[in-house]
């Protein structure tokens, strides 16, 4: 029982953190262009000349 009092809120806290991260990324417009984001992962422009 004591472990539960500690672990259940912890689990919820972690879940809430994930939720907050999702809402933040949603508001930051990261879901506007999923196709493009998938392709951007393959870009090697940061290797070429050091610029990002």
């Amino acid at each position: 029982m004591n472990a539960l009092l500690f672990l259940v809120p912890l689990a919820l806290l972690l879940g809430a953190l994930g939720l907050a991260a999702f809402v933040w990324s949603l508001n930051a417009g990261q879901y506007e262009d999923l196709e493009g984001a998938a392709a951007r992962a393959l870009a090697d422009d940061d290797v070429e000349d050091g610029r990002s």
């Binding site: 029982m1 539960l4 009092l5 259940v8 809120p9 689990a11 919820l12 879940g15 809430a16 994930g18 939720l19 999702f22 809402v23 949603l26 508001n27 879901y31 506007e32 262009d33 999923l34 196709e35 493009g36 998938a38 392709a39 951007r40 393959l42 870009a43 422009d45």
Partner: protein
């Protein structure tokens, strides 16, 4: 030859003081284009940010310096083979994006709550030896999660239900909201009284499922709208405005105001309604009136947006606010016709109108019956809640939208953009198809009709020469070989033709006298132009021709048991010729817009459900008056605004595809409704008998939703397999007009489609695609624009 259009009016100021502008892009074929574009734009001075949105095919730019050379960006993109046009995001699109975000946020919260509450509930169900204090603790934590989560995630439903109740109606959201709220209230009560069960999980799960369905629906619509808006921006033509000091500059049509003076050159379309101030020209008004014979105008004559200027420069005064212009009359007709159609009730609405009261009655009945049978108020309430949840119109709510999403997605890939959300249902009901002739059954632009009779080599040469001119007849010749190289040094003699030197021999394309050819007899619909290369001479007959698959399409429609009619604004003779060629027995010519509407109303009174297909300004009222309507992508803007769907491409094939898809979709919708009703007839009595707890009810309800959704997916798979074209899927653009024939002279058979993957250099313009309900004067002012300016590198 680039037109420098002044777009500064469209830029908006961002938060950090930088100016922002979005561009619609055409020509992106793969993800590598993203990096190519962004890397190329890095070099442009003062540009702070350039980011490509690959899903929407858009590029957003930010710059700081006020004297930023915007034209340089367009020029650079053009050289790389991308067509780009500044683009003004519509308020409707922003609102839709916000709705999608809101739904996604709600869905995330509901999903989070479901998962966590479920984790706790499972412990309660499975932990048989759990002591009471732990159980109460778990229920308490569930309440702490579920109550705020439902308060947040349930808002879309609560708001809609509240609005419906205030209007003294019942909609599908009322039983949903009631079920959720009651089960929450009940669960709180159970928790406080240390009861063994609570039903927080059923409330959150219900919301998560429903939100998922709504989000998918919204995302689909948003995607269609974004692509439609891109098409509009890419094709929006510009008008050449003459300032008070005589300076000419190209401005977007939206910037035109009444009283402006506008110059229209040969080959361009009249940008707005107005009065000719000076100049003479013959106009092709087939898109405006349906009449294919040309009209000569001079100072003092009224001209209408959409007419094609054949020869001669016209200066005109814009008169959009005239009040009794053609457009005003048409607008009134469209409004009247649209009002009549708005009474259409969707299938889901019809069912839910019956269903919602039934659900409430069943739940109330269960409550009262159990109370009468001597059960405690608590047990009776639990049963009533189970009834509410198990009969929750989830499956019903999903049944129709899920099919719509799948079917409209399939149609989207096949090149049909749906304008209104009940178009599919109405399309499935039709038994009569009414065609406009000009621009619909026939090509909107003139074509060379006797191309087969001419030596291919000579025709190719004529086409090369024709690429140097913007005259509509030259454009028709140029379209025979769309990718021919223009002849160096060719020059145009105004009002006569084009002249150039090929292999040391002079070549001329133009009117008969210009090419020293004797007069020949012509029929009144065709224009004859001559081509002379040294001693060799060819006569080219140019006329609007039937679209290449008009025959097959009409046969396919007849095979489906549909009655086919032609109603045209053109004179009787050409209409009869077209009708005879296509084997259509019912046709009328010389109809005014109001006559078309009257004819459609007569058909409706006969009990016919009509599909109207048309493209001209004069068709708009008829499109709005018909039971359902379609427009080709090269239609005038007002026609597209009045139509329920717009199809891309050169041919009429998408019409048949659309009807088939709609019929399949309707069949699936009915299956789905039948499935969910069947489910309810089994589950509701069980729930009323008190055999289901709210949790089991929620699981049963979810699985019924799942079955319905899976069934709906068939609408997406079964359609479009034959028509699908991956290139089109990527680009969503019709082939350039000239894509019809290849150099090998393949004129009637297979169409070698050239899609937008080909670079289109230079400003090319065409029709714009507005969304429904935007029929207002600025929209009307912008209609089809001239033949493309071709620039050969």
């Amino acid at each position: 030859m680039t037109m420098d259009v002044d777009f500064s009016a469209l830029a908006t100021r961002g938060r950090n003081g930088a100016l922002r502008l979005e561009l619609a892009l055409d020509g992106m074929t793969c993800a590598a284009c993203i990096f190519e574009i962004e890397a190329a734009l890095k070099a442009i001075p003062h540009l702070v940010a350039a980011r490509v949105n690959y899903a929407d095919r858009r590029l957003s730019l930010e710059w700081t310096a006020p004297d930023f050379d915007f034209a340089a960006v367009l020029e650079r993109l053009r050289r790389m083979g991308y067509r780009a046009r500044p683009f003004e995001r519509e308020s409707g699109e922003n609102a839709e994006r916000e709705t999608a975000r809101r739904l996604l946020r709600c869905l995330a919260v509901a999903g989070f709550a479901t998962v966590n509450v479920m984790m706790l509930s499972e412990a309660v169900w499975l932990g048989g030896d759990m002591d009471e204090a732990t159980r109460d603790f778990f229920h308490g934590v569930s309440a702490i999660i579920a109550l705020p989560a439902t308060a947040f995630a349930g808002q879309p439903f609560f708001a809609s239900a509240f609005a419906a109740l205030r209007a003294r109606r019942l909609n599908i959201d009322v039983p949903i909201s009631l079920g959720v709220l009651l089960s929450l209230a009940m669960s709180v009560y159970e928790t406080l009284t240390h009861a063994p069960h609570a039903y927080f999980d059923s409330a959150t799960m219900l919301l998560a499922f429903l939100l998922l369905a709504r989000y998918l629906d919204c995302a689909m619509r948003r995607k269609t709208r974004a692509v439609a808006a891109n098409l509009a921006a890419l094709r929006a033509p510009a008008a050449c405005r003459i300032a008070a000091d005589g300076a000419q500059n190209y401005v977007p049509l939206a910037a035109l105001a009444p009283g402006d003076h506008v110059l229209t050159r040969p080959g361009e379309r009249i940008p707005a309604d107005g009065v000719v101030l000076s100049g003479e020209a013959s106009l092709d008004e087939s898109l405006v009136t349906g009449e294919t014979r040309r009209r000569c105008v001079s100072a003092g004559d009224a001209v209408y947006a959409g007419a094609l200027n054949f020869d001669g420069a016209l200066t005109m005064r814009v008169q959009a606010a005239a009040g009794d212009s053609l457009i005003d009359e048409i607008e009134r007709l469209v409004e009247k016709a649209t009002a009549a159609r708005s009474r259409y009730l969707r299938l889901a609405d019809r069912v839910s109108r019956l269903y919602a009261p039934l659900v409430h009655l069943a739940a109330l009945g269960a409550l009262l019956a159990w109370l009468a049978a001597g059960a405690s108020l608590h047990d009776a309430l639990v049963t009533a809640i189970a009834v509410l949840i198990v009969t929750c119109p989830c499956a019903l709510a999903l049944a129709v939208p899920a099919v719509q999403v799948a079917a409209s997605g399939a149609l989207f890939r096949a090149g049909v953009l749906l304008n209104s959300d009940d178009a599919l249902e109405r399309l499935a009901e039709i038994d009569t198809v009414v065609f406009d002739k000009t621009g619909t059954l026939t090509t909107p632009e003139p074509c060379v009709v006797n191309a087969q009779e001419i030596e291919p080599e000579l025709l190719a040469l004529a086409a090369r020469l024709a690429h140097s001119s913007r005259h509509p007849l030259a454009c028709a010749v140029a379209r025979e070989y769309p990718r021919a190289m223009a002849i160096e040094g060719a020059r145009e003699e105004r009002g006569a033709g084009v002249i150039g030197i090929v292999e040391g021999v002079e070549a001329r394309l133009g009117d008969l006298r210009f090419c020293s050819v004797d007069d020949v007899a012509t029929d009144e619909d065709a224009s004859v132009i001559a081509f002379r290369h040294g001693e060799r001479v060819a006569l080219l007959r140019v006329r609007q021709t039937l679209r290449h698959d008009a025959h097959e399409t009409i046969d396919a429609l007849r095979r489906r048991g549909l009655r086919v009619l032609i109603l045209s604004g053109d004179r009787a003779a050409p209409v009869e010729a077209a009708a005879r060629a296509l084997g259509v027995t019912e046709w009328r010519g010389a109809l005014k817009p109001a006559d078309k509407v009257a004819r459609l109303e007569a058909l409706r009174d006969e009990g016919r459900k009509t599909l109207m297909i048309g493209d001209g300004i004069n068709d708009a009222p008829a499109l709005a008056a018909a039971h359902v309507s379609l427009s080709p992508i090269d239609a005038t803007q007002i026609a597209q605004a009045a139509a329920d769907a717009v199809f891309l491409g050169e041919g009429l094939g998408p019409i048949v595809t659309t009807i088939d898809a709609a019929r399949l979709a309707r069949a699936l919708m009915r299956q789905n409704l039948a499935l969910s009703l069947l489910y309810n007839t089994v589950a509701a009595p069980l729930a009323m008998a008190g055999l289901l707890t709210p949790l089991i009810a929620a699981i049963a309800m979810s699985s019924s939703s799942l079955i319905v959704t899976l069934n709906a997916l068939r609408a997406g798979g079964a359609n479009g397999s034959g028509e699908r074209d991956t290139r089109r899927k990527r680009c969503f653009l019709p082939p350039p007009r000239g894509g019809r024939s290849s150099a090998e002279g393949d004129r009637e058979g297979v169409t070698p489609r050239v899609f937008a993957a080909e670079p289109h250099p230079g400003p090319q313009s065409g029709p714009t695609l507005p969304l429904k309900g935007r029929v207002n004067t600025p929209t009307l002012a912008s209609t089809r624009s001239p033949c493309a300016t071709r620039i050969d590198a």
